[in-house]
């Protein structure tokens, strides 16, 4: 049936850099699948990244994030900027499948060659979502997108890690999403750069805005006063103000060095997480294959050996490959 075409990583990288949409789409699939060709493509395009502005949108399902992205995209396009959109949705814990419906709100832009939209499933807790999303963002950046918009539902560490790749983070709430304000108060949620109360056509929107402002006032003073904006994504009302806030935030973080610092610390964290993910994978493979390790685990199960002693014995075995760990 469909021919198993050999992947030409270098060719894809070249086409992607020239702005080819199909090469971009294929490359995202490869990084999403953790395919070695994907890593090769990223290696080649990486020197051409860093120019795109990355804006992350997070918030509960149904808050209006995708609709808002659609409106923002409209404004950015009329200003002549090209846009990449990456939406991340949960994978079903029961089937490993996913229903990705964010495109429904973006269909006005399907035929605009200046807009590239990709839907990504988080593929469960196996890790790697954050890396896959970062690689996809880099690919869009290298393909010449001026702006990359990320969307995730605001739950779970994996989603928070994704949104950390953004230069500016917008938290989208709606009247009634009180849980999110609680999370903000409790410090569970990272502090966003801009807060949007969408569905401002709802009667409770004003009291929601007041609530958020008073919550923020309890926090420590910061050099960026977090704007709390009202939008009606379905009509576009307030989206111009959102764009203005984002532009202002970008100028602010560029001027005071936060942008460089943020990107630096997230890229460093990304490298560390890659290393630990791969070490863990190697270790897990070794643990099921090495008879010595298997025996140790058996002893723990039969209560002849406690877990910490087994871990110490395993560490003693693997430490020669891992000298820094032993010096601590």
């Amino acid at each position: 049936m469909s021919e198993a075409t050999a992947v030409d990583g270098a060719g894809l990288a070249r086409q992607l850099l020239a702005g080819d949409r199909r090469a971009l789409a294929r490359s995202i699939t490869l990084v999403e699948n953790d395919d070695p060709h994907g890593w090769e493509i990223v290696r080649q395009i990486y020197p051409h990244t860093g120019a795109a502005a990355i804006i992350g949108f997070t918030g509960p399902p149904g808050a209006g994030k995708s609709t808002l992205l659609g409106e923002l995209t409209r404004l950015e396009r009329s200003a002549g900027r090209s846009v990449g959109v990456l939406t991340v949705d949960p994978t079903s814990p029961f089937s490993s499948g996913a229903l990705l419906g964010d495109r429904i709100r973006l269909s006005d832009h399907f035929l605009d060659q200046g807009v590239f939209i990709r839907s990504m499933a988080n593929r469960g807790a196996l890790g790697g979502l954050s890396e896959a999303a970062l690689q996809a963002t880099l690919l869009m950046d290298a393909a010449g997108r001026d702006l990359v918009l990320l969307e995730t539902v605001g739950v779970g560490q994996a989603e928070v890690d994704v949104i950390n790749h953004a230069d500016s983070v917008v938290l989208v709430l709606t009247p009634g999403s009180g849980d999110s304000i609680q999370a903000l108060k409790a410090g569970v949620m990272e502090i966003p750069d801009v807060i949007v109360v969408n569905k401002a056509d709802h009667p409770l929107a004003d009291s929601m805005v007041r609530d958020i402002r008073s919550t923020l006032a309890l926090g420590p003073p910061r050099d960026w006063a977090i704007p709390v904006l009202r939008t009606i994504a379905t009509t576009g009302e307030g989206v111009g103000e959102l764009l203005a806030s984002l532009t202002e935030h970008r100028a602010h973080i560029q001027a005071n060095g936060t942008l460089t610092r943020r990107r630096g610390s997230h890229l460093r964290a990304e490298v560390l997480s890659l290393v630990s993910r791969r070490l863990r994978r190697d270790l897990e493979t070794a643990l099921v294959r090495e008879p010595g390790f298997v025996a140790l685990l058996e002893q723990v199960v039969s209560r002849q050996l406690d877990p910490a002693s087994a871990a110490a014995a395993i560490l003693a075995e693997v430490q020669p490959r891992n000298e820094h760990a032993s010096s601590d």
């Binding site: 469909s2 198993a4 699948n33 490993s96 996913a98 990705l100 035929l111």
Partner: protein, 135 residues
Amino acid sequence: MNAAEHRPIRVVVAKPGLDGHDRGAKIVARALRDAGMEVIYTGLHQTPEQIVETVLQEDADAVGLSILSGAHMTLVPRILALLRTEGLGQVVVTVGGTIPADDIAELKGLGVSEVFTPGASTEAVVDFIRSAVTR
């Protein structure tokens, strides 16, 4: 290492044309999701151009078209032609809807992999896409 082998099949479920019923398309979309596929759903009233561009950007393995308006003989050939133009001729195309037997034969001749008429089970659609998508 076998991450690539275990990767889910990606399917675009699309509703081309003007009819306003997407219940059937949504039922199929959910069945495909429950069978472990990643389903990109784009909503009602899609033009052939919009559908093909979605298949391209989402790098989908298959596209399921749901057509109840009777316009399948204009919409489907156009979609097939556009897919070829974009170099997406290997994408598996299925059509669901009230399609007369003569048209089914013609559509298959044009490159549609399978046609599902009302009464076809969602399992049949799932099984077909699973076997037709070879990577």
